[in-house]
Symmetry: D3
Subunit: 247 residues, 6 copies
């Protein structure tokens, strides 16, 4: 499926190959859209909740709103973490990822066509093995599409096509000097540079976040990471489309 050189990656993947990705629609009975999305052992449950109306600050604007919250179950990880509800506050990482997901999904929806409806995307990580935020975005797009269809069925949209583009996200990183796609936890913790890229179905960028964990990275390394990421998002777009057509 790929002609990139196969190095010693966990699971024997080639450098530009995704883990096994599964998107299960309708995993919940109550939510207007819901998806269990799996990137290898990473498992995120996304629920899209529709409510009529928008927050006070944009009432009367004719525009809808999309918001997202990301969280992790305490034992999603290798060792148990304390609950943020018990600690009484949300950590910086949680905040940051929730904001990223919200921005990414708002970038693929036409809020005018949505009309004054709000869609909340709850992304709860049931199990974490690297790439939870990118799995969340990729799954949230499908849940959002189902929630939009639910509104359409009820003639509750302001106009017909509020989702002019799709969105998918993937993590990439440099390990042992080579760019790799879709890092699992073990790889992620060894990466010299770590980048999350959010890309539309057409291959344009919505968000690029790249961090040097070890040494700073050069422009050519940055370019190589972007190449791999765009390729991976194209693969995810195919999987999303199949899930949505699979009814």
């Amino acid at each position: 499926m790929s002609d990139a050189p196969t190095t010693g990656r966990p699971g024997g993947r080639s450098n530009d190959e995704l883990r096994k990705v599964t998107i299960t629609r309708g995993w919940l009975d109550h939510a207007e859209g819901s998806v269990l999305v799996e990137f290898g052992k990473t498992r995120v449950l996304v629920a899209a909740s529709v409510t009529e109306g928008v927050p006070g600050w944009r009432r009367g604007s004719g525009l809808g709103w999309v918001t997202a919250e990301y969280a992790m179950l305490p034992r999603a990880t290798h060792t148990r973490s304390a609950r943020e509800s018990v600690k009484g506050k949300i950590g910086g990482r949680t905040h940051e990822i929730s904001r990223l997901i919200g921005r990414s999904l708002r970038a693929c929806i036409d809020l005018k066509a949505l009309g004054e409806n709000t869609i909340a995307l709850d992304c709860d990580v049931l199990q974490a093995d690297g790439g939870t935020r990118t799995a969340a975005i990729t799954g949230a797009y499908v849940a959002l599409a189902d929630a939009v269809a639910w509104l359409k069925d009820r003639n509750a949209l302001a106009s017909d096509n509020p989702l002019p583009r799709s969105v998918a996200a993937i993590s990439v990183g440099i390990i042992d000097g080579e760019p790799r796609l879709d890092l699992c936890y073990e790889e992620d913790s060894r990466a010299e540079t770590d980048m999350n890229v959010v890309v539309t179905g057409e291959g344009d960028f919505i968000e690029v976040q790249g961090t040097a964990e070890g040494a700073p990275y050069s422009r050519s390394e940055l370019d190589a990471l972007l190449d791999v990421a765009v390729k991976g998002c194209a693969d995810l777009t195919v999987i999303q489309r199949a899930a949505l057509e699979g009814n």
Copy 2:
């Protein structure tokens, strides 16, 4: 399977019949014990996390500790609820149920035999349709048994049999004047009296919590509810045993 009169219950159950109960062990890869427990549409993910040592206040006592936390995903319910982590505090209901689960599981474990180990039971409701706390307790027993087996495999127990008894829980209620077993949400919201009962595998009581939602209830109504609850817990004990033997 039951000769109780079949009234018009959702799903056509008889009054003393459980919903379809499923217990899936090993649903998570990292946790020392884990279970996805389903009572009809109610779905609770239970993770048992083992840590060596005990909280400071019981260090050096030779006794172990078992604790539990209960929570609900925002869209587990028919309409979305705000996250307790976002609100910055845990509600009274959550606290109350977490404490109930902890007490119930501590009542079935020999903390001396457990040795100075701590087992945390995280019960996260993925979908709610009535009976979430009783499903949580019933599933938590199985996750706890797996965590204890994990400790046994590592020779980390103080003595051999830290689980002298099993525990299961069920809700019962009076609806239209009749006692019913295992209420789903629709029944629960109509119940005149609502009782949660926690019972050992031998049929003794660990906890009884009965609340008049409408009119106060008589002693004979209380007796009838207890009869049905004990019967239901016996059925759950059979299911638990099968799950644990099913390896």
Copy 3:
């Protein structure tokens, strides 16, 4: 007064005998109803505060509302506890008891007859020696009755008799294999099983909460505890009535 066998209880009480119970009405000058209730050394100050109107979620319903908050002064207990206001959050036990008191009092009031008025019951434990929640409920009924009378004097009720029944509560427990009524702190901490029972003046149940602290308890033990509790609540009903007539 009782023919139950007298064992070695603190104060030489028989097993089904209450501690000395005192209900002092009008302990506060500002509150619409107020009571200092004493069960032996346990002392709870209950204030009933009337406000016109109801919370937003039930406005226009024609129904009133009764709510309760329970708290303990830091030095009510043998050793000082930190204040919940200083800790910045309310503990699970406080939440749980506040909810129990609220439910119990709502079960004895006709919210339609109350009209759109709210009564808040503040139950502050000045000194604790076991049975604080049951003393609170028993006293709160009297404070509530005074607050209702205050509304009646001002013609502010929707109809005449909003208190069709009275309510009282008592703790019972098994100690040395015998059921005992109204446990003081020393007994409470030794009890194998601990039960709080809320009963109407007619002897029907509003709430039953029984917990195995040590070994699980059998159905016959449960029955014996309920018998003693119903007897004790009947005694409390007499004391409540005397207090209310004592004007």
Copy 4:
């Protein structure tokens, strides 16, 4: 008792006359010192709790520590206030008064003689009718003296006389152009200037806090207020001494 001109004060007091002041020692059974102090309808329960040792930051210094917390029950006032524990934070006024009480009592104790013991003074206002902070300080001195005596009985002091001076506090204010002593709530809310003064048994100052509520006040008004306050504290000192000898 006083030759100051009698104006129309509530209760017919003269301008430099205290309300009826009562100090009841030993109001609680568990606390090492406790007092119910009443200034007219204002009623404050003070509990002094002794613990061995001092907070970490002064361990090994040979010095003791005295701390204070002030709070009000929700229905101490004419209309109910929300609990600070429920709001999840302590208000500025509460903080400010707690700090004032702590400073005032530390000013009358020899922390070296106290040795490495901590005394916590909990001042809970059961009913408020003006002057709650001054009643709290005045009562706290007596509860502190009892707690010190309790330590002395157990030979737990570092040296013999840790209370070289007594402390009392009173509010004064200008109403209708005249200085008045010990304002009740009705007067307090009409005062143009409001001052709380903390004075030793010898008549020296520990704290002076004077606030213009309406127009700024002149030096001669300030002097007149201080005169009345010193007189009032002298009267309180007599009452404190009688209470402590009254045992």
Copy 5:
């Protein structure tokens, strides 16, 4: 400039001499009034923010509102302090000072003339070397005057002269038995008695807060402190006036 005896004060000041005081108006570009006020090394940035309207509880009264918030940057002090935003709560000292500043500024404004406008005074200590609260009040008066002028320019006042008096504040203390004006941090931490005095341009008192840090202080010491404070505030009034005219 002063004939008080020159003792060994830091900087060689005489006992009744201010540190170098600088008031820089218009330090910020956005705020309706802003001042960087310096008392020696103490540097406070005051921003006055005008908003139309008043808080709900005084809407329709025709009266304006002035409020203040005081805070310190983490490294304003000699060693870094934790941020109150990170700790999640405001300390007692911060609350107390914010309330003092608010009261002091409300005492110099005619809220009726202000009309239904709100002015928020943010006093942020950039560097602390003693006297931060008195510098804040002194600077806040100037920022408030600028904000009032801003409103006047827009014809947004209810009547013409909402600032009938000016206000300034200074700290005084007894060190080595002598009253000193405007303590720097080093002096403040050695003071036996510490007093903050808020005085109008006419020399009347708005607030007096005097605390015995060591031994109680006599009436004559109190009088001497007040004399020095009134002198210092008169000097500050001259500096304020010059700053306001300096435009």
Copy 6:
């Protein structure tokens, strides 16, 4: 200085031109390093605080630690914002920026050479006009360098050169289809794409964060933005060097 086409930018800058940048060292008297950094009207005060030792989790590792906190004064912005300390929690944006600054500065320091010392970088925005996070990073590098020099003077470093590289940051964006450097607030709010780039003195990347505010951006737009950003950071590096040599 630049041959990029001059469009109608505020202040008449060319597209790849910085605003006037000023770095004032030693703005505070107590901090081990401090800088007032200005990018046009944006003014950030950075204080570097050195403490001996490291947080518990890395004690004994031989490695130092660098941490950062970002905050904004309430009236830094055009309209006043509520204080996070008063709200009782830190917002997502604040968390996110604090984390970015910390990561960026850790990427330019050799934590082994730093030895077990901690440097906290407090970045407080006194006035905001776009680019506050990039100004903070750029200034924090200089304050960090001064704090490192302070440690060196005291022979407290583990080895000689803990700052092998410098770091600077700048914002870039696409406005009217053209890439622009160092956006002020007015431009920032109009930008279609907004990117913050953190670059070393050698021109390598530490962090790239690019967000489509409007339409997704193409690879060639991304490349153009990176080109401008690298150029701007090179200009900032010159200014930093001059400031550090300017001693």
